[in-house]
């Protein structure tokens, strides 16, 4: 059974078709890269998959469950996690608190108005584990305001990993990072075990191509080419989209 | 029959006053996304200023219409000062905007009480409009008809401003998408001050025009503000047509409600607003959900 199946997904804003009949079939454990020029509809596709936008047509299946009409929060509980292109963390809090909120979102404890969140040893411990996986265990108690952009990106990834997702959607995880920071993030991503399926949008081809197994090229909301690395890179339509007009 | 017709004319007159008050409120809300809780105070200030000019100040008596224009101009300057020196400093901070606009309305209310005392002040109907209009067997007060005419003139002028001028196009663009307007290089700064001053002037103008009908008294600010608010929620913020329709609906509900179900008059007044909120949260003619 596939980890994520998208069938005939469409979305338009006003008269503009941002997503046109997109089909994706992503196997468990796969590393899928989605590329395409600016405005190809990549982030919209992510927002449709996570449920932040409602599609006009088509279906989305997560591990065999039809989630087309379920709200975002249900998809999170079914094992979908994402990071954002624009970092959207809780800026007034510490790193560990951010990760704790991610963990709490899937725990029944989130409805509890009586216990002290900071004393929930299990949550804190899991939070530290998630941070250790991205190499931030040593600064867990640092306020987010005092962290670098690259560190925040890794906190984003730690939050997503803390949710123990089956499918992880990464929206441009390398964007805006320095070479060193890029290497750090790359290391985190390589260390993610195979029971997590990863779908990644990325512009930065050097890092992304190395990471991905299959690549989908999106252009004007449509899937133009799909295949393994060599197939997509060698396809004339890829060159047309990226180089020629 | 006569009773109902007279009630209808009163409703339209009240709706016309509400339109003058709410049109500016709607534009300010639509363009700047600011809940301008001083709007009732601006109405009251206009009414008191105008009443003072008409009833005589330092031995000088002014013509009603000149007084109305002077009051509107003064309050416009006051509005521009509030926008430029206070609200300008607080973009995107609704809590601080609420605090500062309420603070100003407290100050204005107390200053008015100090300057004009607690008794209602009557404003004489301008000479020439004191009579009645006879239509068939019916008799209507001329001034109420005149108020309707004034509101129509102001409404058409506003429509021309919004629809036919460059400034109007910029305001409309700003209402539709403030961020985009900024990106395409519309100088929102000057525009905001202008719209705020215009809204203040309209509110003040409504205050003095309404003087002969409502009189002027302490507390009229808190009486008018919620009505303006309901008009905007009903019609949709930033929409001129919405202000027209909203004002008329509220004008009728207010007058007929008082006459038919005095005990539930306010409930009847706010009920359509709740329905609109439930069924069409952006308002009847609004473009965005606030």
């Amino acid at each position: 059974m596939s980890a994520l199946v998208v069938t005939g997904l469409s979305k338009s804003f006003g008269g503009l078709h941002v997503t046109r009949g997109v089909n994706l079939n992503i196997a468990p454990g796969e590393r899928r890269l989605i590329i395409g020029p600016n405005g190809a509809g990549k982030t919209t596709l992510f927002n449709l998959i996570t449920g932040e936008l409602t599609p006009d047509g088509g279906t989305i299946e997560l591990s065999g469950v039809d989630v087309t009409h379920s709200p975002s929060r249900h998809r999170a509980h079914l094992g979908m996690a994402r990071t954002y292109q624009i970092i959207t963390l809780f800026g007034q809090d510490t790193i560990i608190h951010n990760v704790r909120l991610a963990l709490l979102g899937l725990s029944p404890k989130r409805w509890n108005p009586l216990i002290d969140l900071r004393r929930q040893a299990a949550l804190t411990e899991q939070g530290h584990e998630a941070l250790a996986r991205v190499g931030l265990g040593h600064i867990a108690d640092r306020p987010l305001a005092q962290t670098s952009y690259g560190e925040r990106r890794r906190v984003e990834i730690a939050m997503a990993l803390a949710q123990q997702p089956k499918v992880l959607l990464l929206d441009e995880p390398f964007a805006g990072l320095s070479i060193d920071e890029r290497r750090d993030v790359h290391k985190c991503l390589m260390a993610i075990p195979r029971d997590v399926t990863i779908v990644m949008i990325e512009h930065n081809m050097d890092v992304a191509l190395e990471f991905a197994e299959r690549i989908t090229l999106l252009h004007f909301g449509e899937v133009i080419v799909e295949g393994n690395r060599a197939e997509v890179v060698d396809d004339p339509r890829t060159r047309e989209v990226y180089l020629g007009h | 029959m006569t009773f109902w017709l007279l009630l209808s004319v009163n409703s339209i007159t009240f709706g016309a006053l509400l339109f003058l008050l709410a049109a500016g409120f709607s534009l300010i809300f639509g363009l700047m996304r600011i809940p301008n809780l001083t709007h009732g105070s601006l109405f009251m200030l206009g009414a008191y200023f105008g009443a003072t000019f008409v009833n005589g100040m330092l031995g000088a008596y002014f013509d009603f219409w000149l007084a109305a224009l002077m009051a509107a101009a003064l309050v416009a300057v006051f509005g521009a000062v509030i926008e430029r020196f206070l609200l300008r400093q607080l973009p995107g901070q609704p809590l601080a905007q609420v605090l500062v606009t309420l603070g100003i309305s407290f100050m204005v209310a107390d200053l008015c009480l100090m300057a004009w005392g607690g008794d209602p002040i009557a404003v004489a109907t301008p000479p020439g409009l004191t009579g009645f209009v006879r239509i068939g067997p019916m008799v209507f007060p001329l001034y109420r008809i005149a108020v309707i005419g004034i509101a129509i003139v102001v409404g058409v002028a506003l429509w021309l401003l919004l629809d036919r001028t460059r400034i109007g196009a910029m305001i409309r663009a700003g209402v539709d998408d403030p961020d985009m307007a900024r990106v395409v290089g519309i100088r929102v700064s000057g525009l905001f001050t202008m719209v705020f001053a215009l809204g203040a002037a309209l509110a003040a103008f409504a205050g003095i025009i309404g003087g002969p009908i409502l009189t002027v008294y302490p507390g009229i600010d808190q009486y008018m503000l919620p009505l303006a608010l309901v008009v905007v929620i009903l019609g949709g913020s930033g929409s001129l047509l919405g202000s027209v329709v909203g004002s008329m609906v509220i004008g009728f509900l207010y007058n007929f409600g008082q006459a038919l179900f005095p005990e539930l008059a306010y409930f009847v007044l706010f009920l359509p607003m709740l329905l609109v909120l439930l069924l069409r949260p952006q308002g009847l003619f609004g473009r965005f959900i606030p």
């Binding site: 975002s72 929060r73 999170a76 996690a81 954002y84 959207t88 809780f90 800026g91 007034q92 704790r100 909120l101 979102g105 899937l106 725990s107 989130r110 409805w111 509890n112 108005p113 009586l114 216990i115 002290d116 969140l117 305001a145 005092q146 949710q163 | 996304r33 809940p35 206070l86 400093q89 609704p94 809590l95 601080a96 609420v98 605090l99 500062v100 603070g103 309305s105 407290f106 100050m107 204005v108 107390d110 200053l111 808190q222 919620p226 309901v230 905007v232 929620i233 005990e263 539930l264 306010y266 409930f267 007044l269 706010f270 607003m273 709740l274 909120l277 439930l278 949260p281 959900i289 606030p290």
Partner: protein
């Protein structure tokens, strides 16, 4: 930490012994008013501070419970029945408020709650057969919990103090709890919270209910204190006043609403004895707070204190504030 504990113990001692050192019935009564307005402000702070939902119609809810208490007592029911009914009606009203106003956030929420507050005011003012209209409802007597009559100012003060301390304890526990953290998350990043698996609407609804509970309790204390309720207690000015208490003291802090209610009640009842234009003064104070300490008195003072502290002892604190700014 120990310093904080010491301040807390001193504050409690001062509050408990207040009738002994505060001479004059008048000032004990002022203290009682501060306490129940603080409960009201703590209730509104759940929404305005922790949920980021600014309500300008809370005096309506406050008034509903106050009117319900008065109405039930005048029908001849006992204090306990009246209080229980008032709380239930207050909570049901809050639920209706919440369902209608949670369709929006931001300015939309302000507008809807304002309109709802006006509806309640309009009913209180005009539905004379139930509310007595402008004449309001008069009460006769206060309850006697465990046989202790609350008729004297001191006894009422202690009752208000107990209720206030319970409310403060509830809030202290709540803001540290997972649900409290989730609520603050929905204030800062609602979209993110949804993607993390939280039911944002329901969390906000629960926040409304907690807010409504504290507001109803404050309304009941208010009507027992004054032995009277009229539409004036729930008009727009009243809603504005309690919101100003929260914002001026510092929305989203535990102490802010308490400081804010102290400020407003003291200006209204004590300073007004000396300065005729106290309303102007109150307005001017609010404008000054926005200009000087837009985050409110409590967080603003903390900020100034830290800045002064950091200047004297340069070290990691300076570094932290520089990076944060």
């Amino acid at each position: 930490m120990t310093a904080r504990l010491a301040v807390f113990i001193i504050a409690i001692m001062a509050l408990v012994t207040l009738p002994q050192w505060m001479h004059g019935v008048y000032y004990v009564n002022v203290a009682s008013q501060i306490l129940f307005y603080a409960v009201f402000a703590l209730g509104l702070n759940v929404l305005a501070g922790y949920a980021g939902l600014v309500s300008l119609g809370h005096a309506g809810l406050f008034g509903i419970s106050a009117y319900a208490t008065g109405y039930m007592l005048n029908l001849g029911y006992s204090h306990s029945v009246a209080i229980a009914t008032a709380l239930s009606i207050g909570m049901v009203s809050m639920a209706i408020y919440a369902v209608l106003s949670l369709r929006a956030t931001g300015i939309g929420f302000i507008m809807i709650t304002l309109a709802l507050g006006e509806i309640v005011w309009g009913l209180a003012y005009r539905w004379i057969s139930i509310t007595g209209g402008d004449n309001g409802i008069n009460l006769h007597g206060r309850p006697e919990p465990f046989g202790i009559a609350l008729t004297s100012p001191n006894a009422f003060y202690y009752a208000a103090l107990i209720v206030f301390l319970i409310a403060l304890a509830v809030m202290t526990v709540f803001v540290r709890s997972p649900l409290g953290a989730a609520l603050m998350g929905t204030r800062d990043q609602p979209r993110r919270m949804t993607a993390l698996g939280y039911h944002v609407w329901l969390i906000r609804f629960f926040a409304c209910m907690l807010s409504g509970l504290l507001t109803s309790i404050a309304g009941i204390l208010f009507v027992y204190y004054n032995q009277f309720i009229s539409p004036q207690a729930l008009d727009l000015t009243a809603s504005a006043e309690v919101l100003l208490m929260v914002i001026s003291g510092g929305a989203g802090t535990l102490l802010g609403p308490i400081v804010g209610s102290t400020l407003v009640v003291v200006v209204k009842s004590v300073v007004s004895g000396y300065i005729e234009r106290w309303n102007f003064l109150l307005g001017a104070i609010f404008v000054a707070i926005v200009i000087l300490m837009p985050e409110g008195l409590v967080p603003g003072t903390v900020r100034l204190w830290r800045a002064a502290f950091a200047r004297r002892r340069p070290g990691p604190v300076v570094e932290a504030t520089e990076k944060a700014s």
